[in-house]
C-alpha cells in the first residue's frame, strides 16, 4: 500500500493505492489525521485502492468526523469499484461526500 500526499487549491489530496487492511490501515489513519491537524481540508483519492476492509473504512470515518469537528472539508474522490462496494455495504456511500473526479472535488471545496 502506498500513500501519496499533494497540495491542490489549499487542500491536501491524499492518494491511496494498493490494499488497505488491518496491517496497513494504521498508516492511512495517521496520514489523514496528520493532514487534518495541519488545518487543511482533505480529499481522499481512492482510485488506486484494490482492497479496503472495515479497519480502512473506520480510518476514513474517524478522519471525516475529526475534520467535521474542526469545520474542515473532507471528501472522497474517484472511488474505484472495490472500495465503493464496501462503502455501499456499510451504507456509508450516503454519509461521505463523494466526487467523481479530483477536479470536481477541488472546484467544490476550494
Amino acid at each position: 500500500m502506498d500513500i501519496d500526499i499533494t497540495e491542490q487549491g489549499g487542500l491536501n489530496v491524499v492518494a491511496i493505492s494498493g490494499e488497505v487492511d488491518l496491517s496497513t490501515s494504521p498508516k492511512v489513519r495517521d496520514a489523514l489525521l496528520g493532514c487534518i491537524s495541519g488545518g487543511k481540508g482533505v480529499i481522499v483519492d481512492l482510485s488506486g485502492v484494490a482492497y479496503i476492509d472495515s479497519s480502512g473504512v473506520a480510518s476514513l470515518v474517524e478522519a471525516f468526523q475529526t475534520a467535521k469537528s474542526k469545520s474542515l472539508g473532507f471528501a472522497l474522490a474517484q472511488v474505484s469499484d472495490t472500495p465503493m462496494r464496501v462503502l455501499k455495504l456499510a451504507r456509508l456511500d450516503q454519509v461521505f461526500v463523494i466526487y467523481d473526479t479530483l477536479d470536481d472535488a477541488v472546484a467544490a471545496m476550494a
Binding site: 487492511d21 488491518l22 496491517s23 482492497y51 476492509d53 472495515s54 473506520a58 462496494r85 455495504l89
Partner: protein, 587 residues
C-alpha cells in the same frame, strides 16, 4: 560288526552334511532300526520351555507312525532313560512297571522288548532313541545291541546339538541384522542436517548401543518459527528405542496440528500414558524459536535443565516445570506443562541429555555440567559453528576411550546469525518465504471443485495482521473456481478477512503465538469457510452487528460478514478448545 562300523561312519557323515536335521534324523533312525533288526523305532527330543518338560517324537519307523507324539518327560521307558541319562533294555515290556501300555492300546501294536539310549552331549539332555521288538534271532535285544545303539545315539546327539547351535547362531545373526535395521530407521527419525549452514537449530545424537532411547527433532512452521524437541526415554534397550519412536512420531503429528509447547507435552503425555508399559517414562523439552525475534517459548517435562549461554558469556539454567511424560495425568493433576519465555538476544540455548554431562572423559571422571559449559565457552571463543561446538562435546565423550554410559544427545539453538539478520532488516517482513510456499503449496484442490464436495484449501496461519493477505488470496482463488462473479469474490474476501480480523484482534486480544486454521470447502451448492482458533471461548451473545445509522469508526466487520454470507454459525470446537466459526454462501 563291519556293517555296524560302516553305519556309524555313514550316519556321522550324514549328520555333518545335513541341511535339514529332521530329514536326517528320520533317515538315520530307519538305518539303525534296519541294522538292529527292530520292528520299529522312534527318536524323541526333549523340549524344556515355559511349559512342563516333555518329549516329542521327531522320527518314527515301523508299522505305526508316532511322529509328533508328545509324552511327559518323566513318563515311560523313554522318560526314564532321559531323566537318568542312562540306557534301558527291557526284555519284557508288558511286565515292566515303567512301560506305558496306553500307546499300544491305541495303536494295536504290541511292544515286547525295548532298547533305549539317551541322547546327550556333556550335561545337555537332548532326548532319546529307542528301538522295539527285535525280529531276528530269539526276538530279544542283546547287550551288543545296546552298545551299538549307545554309539549311534552319541553320534546323533552331537549332530543335533551342533545343528541347534548353528540355528542359534543364525538366529543371533538375524537379530543383529534386525537391530541394525531398527537403528537405521531410528536415525531416519532424526531431522536431516540440512544444507543451509546458517540454519539456527542443530543437533547431535550418539547411541551408547546400536539403538537409542534419546531423540531430538525440529521442523519449520508455516510462519518461519521453528518447533523443536529433545527427549530421553528411560533405559537404553529396544523397549526404550520403541518408546522413543512413538514419542518422536507424536511430536511430529500433534506438533504440526497444534504447536503450543505446554499443551503439546500434555497431549503427548496423555497418549503415552494411555498405552505405555508401566515404569517407563520420557523426560522431554518442547519449544518454539522465532528467528525473527529471538524469542523462545519452552516447556520442560522433567528434563535436565537447558542452558542459555548469553553473548556476555553468562550461563543460565532453565529448570523443569512439570514431571516427566509417562506419569499418569491423574497423579499430577494433568493440565498443560507451564511455559517459559526467554529471549536469546544473539546467544544460544543448549538442550541435552544426561549422557552428555555424565559421560566419562577419563576412567571414573565425568564431563559434568562445568566441563560441558567450559567446552561451549571454548567453542564460542574459538569461533566454532554451533554444530561444531556440540559435535566437539559428543566427540570428546565417544573418543575418550571410555565406554559410553548412556546415549549422548545435544540440541542447540544459535541466535547469533538470526540476530545479525534482524539488525540488517529493520523493515517488517510481511510474508516470509515459508508462508509464500504454503499458499503456493495449498493451491486449490481441483478435484474438490469438480466433485462439488470436500476441502478446497486449508491453511494454518499465525493470528497476525500480516496473514490476512494470504487468506484473501486463498478465498479469491477458490471462490472464482467455484464460479462466483468477480464482485462476489471480492465480497467473500472481505467477509473472511473480517472474520479473521476478529480472531486476531478480539479472540486472541493481541497475544502472540496464536494460530488460526482456515478450511475452505465445497459442500454441494455451498461455499463454506470454517475458521478455527485456539483462543479462550468468545461469548457469542456479545457479537452483534452495529447499528449503521450510528456513524462511527469500528464495529463494521460483523456487519460485513452477515451481509455477504448466507449463513453464519458459531459452533463448538471439536475438542472444546477455542472457537469455530462456520460461514456459508450459496453458489
Amino acid at each position: 560288526m563291519n556293517n555296524q562300523l560302516e553305519l556309524l561312519v555313514e550316519i556321522g557323515r550324514h549328520f555333518a552334511a545335513t541341511q535339514d536335521i529332521e530329514v536326517t534324523m528320520g533317515h538315520a533312525l530307519a538305518r539303525i532300526a534296519e541294522l538292529m533288526e527292530a520292528e520299529g523305532g522312534a527318536l524323541f527330543v526333549l523340549e524344556e520351555g515355559e511349559t512342563e518338560p516333555h518329549l516329542i517324537c521327531h522320527a518314527s519307523v515301523g508299522p505305526v507312525d508316532i511322529k509328533g507324539l508328545t509324552v511327559p518327560a518323566d513318563k515311560g521307558i523313554v522318560g526314564r532313560s532321559v531323566t537318568t541319562n542312562s540306557s534301558e533294555m527291557v526284555r519284557d515290556a508288558q511286565n515292566d512297571p515303567n512301560f506305558d501300555t496306553s500307546m499300544d492300546a491305541q495303536s494295536g501294536f504290541t511292544t515286547r522288548s525295548i532298547l533305549c539310549a539317551p541322547l546327550s552331549v556333556k550335561d545337555e539332555r537332548i532326548g532319546a532313541i529307542e528301538v522295539v521288538n527285535k525280529t531276528g534271532g530269539d526276538g530279544l535285544f542283546a547287550n551288543d545291541d545296546l552298545t551299538l545303539l549307545e554309539a549311534l545315539a552319541a553320534s546323533a546327539a552331537l549332530a543335533i546339538s551342533n545343528a541347534r547351535m548353528a540355528g542359534e547362531l543364525a538366529e543371533k545373526e538375524v537379530m543383529r541384522r534386525e537391530l541394525e535395521l531398527a537403528a537405521e530407521i531410528q536415525r531416519g527419525l532424526l531431522p536431516p542436517p540440512g544444507e543451509d549452514d546458517d540454519f539456527p537449530v542443530r543437533g547431535v545424537n550418539r547411541p551408547a548401543r546400536v539403538v537409542s532411547g534419546d531423540f531430538f527433532d525440529f521442523f519449520i512452521m508455516y510462519d518461519g518459527r521453528i518447533a523443536f524437541t529433545l527427549a530421553d526415554v528411560s533405559g537404553k534397550g529396544m523397549n526404550a528405542a520403541l518408546l522413543m519412536a512413538k514419542t518422536a512420531s507424536l511430536f511430529r503429528c500433534l506438533g504440526k496440528e497444534d504447536m503450543r509447547p505446554g499443551r503439546l507435552l500434555q497431549r503427548i503425555n496423555a497418549e503415552v500414558c494411555e498405552t505405555s508399559m508401566r515404569g517407563m517414562f520420557v523426560t522431554m523439552v518442547a519449544g518454539i524459536y522465532d528467528p525473527a525475534s529471538g524469542r523462545v517459548v519452552l516447556a520442560n517435562a522433567g528434563h535436565e535443565p537447558p542452558l542459555h549461554h548469553s553473548t556476555d558469556d553468562q550461563f543460565k539454567t532453565l529448570e523443569a516445570t512439570a514431571p516427566p511424560v509417562g506419569i499418569p495425568p491423574e497423579l499430577t493433576g494433568g493440565g498443560a506443562v507451564p511455559e517459559e519465555v526467554l529471549h536469546l538476544n544473539g546467544g544460544s540455548l543448549y538442550i541435552f541429555t544426561d549422557g552428555a554431562t555424565e559421560g566419562y572423559v577419563a576412567p571414573g571422571v565425568e564431563l559434568g555440567s562445568d566441563g560441558f559449559m567450559d567446552m561451549i565457552r571454548t567453542g564460542v571463543s574459538d569461533g566454532l559453528t554451533a554444530q561444531a561446538r556440540i559435535d566437539a562435546v559428543a566427540n570428546r565423550l565417544s573418543d575418550s576411550g571410555q565406554v559410553l554410559r548412556d546415549d549422548i544427545t545435544v540440541l542447540v539453538i544459535d541466535d547469533a546469525k538470526p540476530l545479525q539478520n534482524r539488525q540488517s532488516h529493520d523493515d517488517d517482513v510481511i510474508m516470509n518465504d515459508t508462508m509464500k510456499k504454503q499458499i503456493e503449496g495449498a493451491s486449490m484442490d481441483e478435484g474438490a471443485v469438480q466433485s462439488h464436495d470436500g476441502s478446497l484449501c486449508a491453511l494454518t496461519l499465525p493470528a497476525r495482521a500480516s496473514s490476512l493477505k494470504l487468506v484473501r488470496r486463498a478465498v479469491g482463488d477458490t471462490a472464482a473456481a467455484c464460479g462466483f462473479s468477480q464482485e462476489q469474490c471480492q465480497d467473500l474476501m472481505l467477509a473472511v478477512d473480517e472474520a479473521c480480523q476478529n480472531v486476531v484482534r478480539h479472540a486472541y486480544a493481541g497475544v502472540a503465538d496464536g494460530d488460526m486454521v482456515i478450511d475452505i470447502r465445497r459442500e454441494g451448492e455451498s461455499y463454506v469457510v470454517l475458521l478455527r482458533d485456539h483462543a479462550p471461548p468468545v461469548d457469542v451473545a456479545k457479537i452483534v452487528p452495529r447499528n449503521l445509522d450510528d456513524v462511527r469508526p469500528g464495529g463494521l466487520g460483523v456487519h460485513f460478514i452477515r451481509e455477504v454470507m448466507d449463513d453464519v454459525e458459531h459452533l463448538s470446537a471439536p475438542d472444546g478448545q477455542g472457537n469455530l466459526l462456520r460461514m456459508k454462501k450459496v453458489i
